[in-house]
Symmetry: C2
């Protein structure tokens, strides 16, 4: 079998298993994957507009709107006023930030468990390769 086939077969299986376990962790806190990915972004980037999130996560705007609405309803987000009144800029609220650090611990535990036995060098090398692959995919979408 082609090494590319083996690669992606393993890649997909691993992703599905990972998503499964991640969901188990998140559900303990009443969260879902899509919500978590937004909180994660806001933890690393302070604030974001919906379009920014849509681009980053590579989903359409209505998908983001819905997830944001849910996070707002729970009270994990707050608005950041800006001068462009079309856009809606959000950041984590205090309770959102509090929850994030808590869940982050549990997710770190899961992730580090999965990576146990794999050296930091190998992790970084693999991350680098994945970035390269991601870049190949992005450049296919050029006509944005």
């Amino acid at each position: 079998m082609k090494s590319s086939q083996e690669f992606f077969q393993q890649f997909v299986l691993l992703y599905r298993s990972f998503e499964h376990h991640l969901n188990d962790v998140l559900n303990d806190y009443g969260l879902y994957r899509a919500q978590w990915s937004i909180l994660h972004y806001l933890a690393k980037n302070e604030s974001a507009t919906l379009v920014e999130l849509a681009h980053y996560l590579r989903v359409e705007k209505p998908t983001i709107t819905r997830t944001i609405t849910r996070l707002e309803n729970i009270g994990y987000l707050s608005h950041v006023p800006g001068k462009d009144r079309r856009e809606k800029r959000v950041e984590m609220s205090e309770s959102g930030a509090t929850l994030y650090v808590e869940v982050r611990k549990a997710v770190d535990l899961l992730e580090e468990g999965i990576l146990s036995g794999i050296s930091v060098e190998q992790q970084q090398e693999t991350t680098r390769i994945m970035k390269q692959m991601h870049h190949h995919l992005i450049s296919k979408e050029q006509p944005l």
Copy 2:
């Protein structure tokens, strides 16, 4: 940021981009990801029962039932009679197999494009690492 966090952030982003492009390819043939993963399994394993597929893909039985039903309706699967009359063993029909080789070409093209510039050795090493990670996840689920 922890290297595990960077790893999984990249991992998830890459997966989502990949799934997106894979879907684009599959849709040209009227297929979806879940259907494709079953055809892929049957291409590598000749035949399978629903439970076998559920275990491999790590989803529940009703999910498999539905996807199999769809593939049957399109005519890509046929039954393999066996002595245990509880189980339903399926394989690809002729038209399923024909479609598979066709789609396989397109998917190979996509996958090889994504992996371009990454040596076969690196691909294999990364596959090995992913297998190791997958194994960590599986062993967490021991009580099966």
